[in-house]
């Protein structure tokens, strides 16, 4: 066996010589079988590097990182990269599969006319919960009130986590108060701050990473988090044969939708391979593999017929038109400072 691998290595090596696509992507955000098929198709090697949030991506590029072909930023980070002139425009002739994308996800405010970006997948920020506990405690699961209103929170004190993210938590509070997630009126921000401070004593933690596990093992019963993570928590709980199930749903007041996009970095060593990759990922079958693996939302209409029916029929993953979703816009420096100071107060009080 070892000998065989050894021989294979030498036979295979010349095929890959030199041709490499450098993909700088979110952690665990592409199906391994998709990568294998792309490598076979382009006769190249995909070299992956990972980030865990947009800030990390922006900070790394701002510090001068080079050598990446493809990046997968979320809407507001995309806008920021475009304004910095950090991206190469897409050559439309090389990405005919862009026609597969649902027009609702094209021509966003972040990249009007999709000059630079092709939609990849999306997540929503919503509430996830332990279905049995919610029923037992008589708590609603279709409203942000369950995260913010002490009337409900008193029943789940210490069993709730919210995202450790200024923008996401603020957006949820603003939505609950009936404002836009992108509202920049400081008076509205202060009422959101009040709301958060009133609810805070009932929360266990601000958490953006371990809530999946805490939900899966039953320590935490109610979380504010991302749809992909909730899907994973549900699958993990099922695989571990827990006595409870994990549910997640979009609050009726609306929520944040984050659309991740494939773009080509200005200093991409191989724009040709990058275009090939984008077109390949826009193919329905290839695109569906990510959704089936992660439960991520899919903007690709051609992918829907390959998506697992359990996922396709979940309104939290494929939301209806009435679901009042908003994408977060980038804030300017001055607003960022105001929000940041407000956030520090929230965390220290």
């Amino acid at each position: 066996m070892g000998k065989l691998l050894f021989i294979l290595f030498f036979v295979a090596a010349p095929v890959f010589a030199g041709d490499e696509l450098h993909l700088y992507n979110w952690n665990n955000y592409i199906a391994p079988e998709t990568v294998d098929r792309f490598e076979a198709y382009c006769k190249c090697r995909v070299v992956q590097d990972y980030y865990s949030d947009n800030e990390e991506l922006l900070a790394k590029l701002a510090a001068g990182a080079k050598g990446y072909d493809i990046l997968v930023p979320t809407g507001n980070a995309l806008a920021s990269l475009i304004r910095q002139g950090a991206l190469l425009p897409l050559d439309r002739k090389l990405v005919p599969n862009l026609k597969n994308i649902n027009p609702a996800y094209l021509d966003t405010a972040f990249d009007p006319g999709n000059r630079y970006s092709a939609p990849y997948a999306y997540t929503t920020t919503l509430i996830g919960y332990n279905v049995e506990k919610m029923k037992q405690l008589g708590l609603p699961t279709d409203t942000w009130a369950v995260i913010f209103d002490p009337k409900y929170l008193a029943r789940v004190k210490g069993r709730v986590t919210v995202l450790d993210s200024q923008r996401e938590l603020m957006a949820a509070a603003l939505k609950y108060l009936g404002y836009s997630a992108n509202d920049t009126d400081e008076a509205h921000w202060y009422s959101a701050e009040k709301l958060i401070l009133r609810a805070k004593p009932y929360w266990a933690a601000f958490n953006a990473s371990s809530y999946i596990k805490e939900l899966t093992v039953g320590n935490i019963w109610l979380v504010h988090g991302y749809s992909n993570d909730m899907f994973q928590a549900r699958m993990d709980a099922r695989a571990a044969k827990r006595k409870f199930t994990i549910g997640f749903s979009l609050p009726k007041e609306g929520a944040v939708l984050a659309l991740d996009n494939m773009v080509i970095h200005k200093y991409a060593p191989r724009p040709d391979l990058a275009h090939k990759f984008i077109n390949f990922m826009l193919d329905g079958k290839n695109s569906s593999e990510l959704t089936n693996m992660l439960g991520s939302g899919n903007p690709n209409l051609a992918a829907l017929k390959y998506v697992d029916p359990e996922i396709a029929s979940n309104p939290a993953i494929f939301p209806g038109k009435e679901s009042k979703l908003e994408m977060l816009q980038d804030l300017d420096m001055e607003k960022r400072r105001v929000l940041n100071r407000l956030w520090i107060k929230i965390k220290i009080e």
Binding site: A59, A204, R337, R341
Partner: protein, 296 residues
């Protein structure tokens, strides 16, 4: 002369290393703290060009921001308290251990020291995540403690996501840094001194306070410095184990560089932290110097 050249050749690389990777970055950070933030993060240009020509684009805004609201100083004080508590408990738990190792038979000592260092063989973050399980509501520790409290009719308490969890883990993480310098010092003590004290009628308590402890002070100071200063800047422990009020100054600095994309303010906070730590260490060294002199 040739001996001097040899010294320079040997000490050259580390000096060069420190200059390139410590002194220069520190100056960059000092400069950054006086600059304006760039619109997309990073820094605004240092020179502005207009009709009057180029002029420097520097500001005191980041420092003004720090002093404009007491909230930042409050976080700083809270961090100091965490660091002091951690250092205190490290000292009182590490001292007996170091004494025990130094007093044990020579052939066992290396093994015991190795056991102290052993946790470093597994990753720092994995060890912190392990505490999440140990302190979680379904852990034996939590269940046992709450069962015990329940016997006295006391409400069950949560251990995870509390300041207690943060400080407990900080002590755990920093403990070896206290044990090692203490051991290195205690091991060198001449046992004849204790024999002499005993011959002169000192009981074991007096022997410890009049002989062992004063002689071990350099080890104590080294241990305090090794524990106290890193704790001031730590952010991973409060991130993972801290609850809704768990952040420390390190979390704020990280937040300024990543989420808020405000490099100048993040740099200013780092510098204030460094200066604050230097002041504390300076005062402590002065006090320590005086006590040592008085004893002598």
């Amino acid at each position: 002369m040739t001996r001097n050249i040899g010294k320079w050749l040997i000490s050259g690389p580390p000096v060069f290393y420190l200059a390139v990777f410590f002194v220069i970055p520190t100056f960059i950070m000092v400069l950054a703290s006086f600059r304006h933030a760039g619109e997309f993060g990073g820094l605004a240009p240092i020179f502005l060009h207009d009709v009057r020509g180029a002029h420097l684009n520097l500001t005191l805004e980041s420092y003004r921001e720090y002093f404009s609201d007491f909230i930042y100083s409050r976080l700083f004080i809270k961090t100091l308290i965490y660091a002091l508590v951690t250092t205190f408990f490290c000292l009182v738990t590490a001292y007996p251990l170091a004494l025990l190792i130094a007093g044990s038979e020579k052939r066992h000592r290396d093994l015991l020291v190795l056991l102290v260092i052993l946790p470093f063989w597994s990753n720092f973050l994995i060890r912190i995540y392990a505490w999440m399980i140990i302190l979680g509501p379904q852990s034996a520790l939590s269940v046992g403690l709450n069962g015990f409290l329940g016997m006295f009719g006391i409400e069950p308490v949560g251990l995870l996501f509390t300041p207690f969890a943060v400080v407990l883990c900080l002590i755990y993480v920093q403990l070896p840094f206290m044990v090692l310098p203490l051991y290195a010092n205690l091991e060198k003590h001449d046992p004849a001194l204790l024999d002499a004290a005993q011959d002169l009628g000192a009981n074991s308590w007096q022997r410890f306070w009049r002989i062992t402890f004063p002689l071990s002070l350099p080890g104590v100071y080294a241990g305090i410095a090794l524990v106290f200063i890193p704790v001031l800047g730590i952010f991973a422990v409060p991130d993972i184990l801290g609850g809704t009020g768990g952040i420390m100054i390190g979390n704020l600095i990280k937040q300024e560089f990543l989420e808020a994309r405000d490099w100048p303010f993040g740099s200013a906070l780092s510098i204030i932290l460094t200066l604050g730590a230097l002041c504390i260490v300076g005062v402590a060294a002065m006090v320590a110097g005086r006590t040592v002199k008085n004893d002598a």
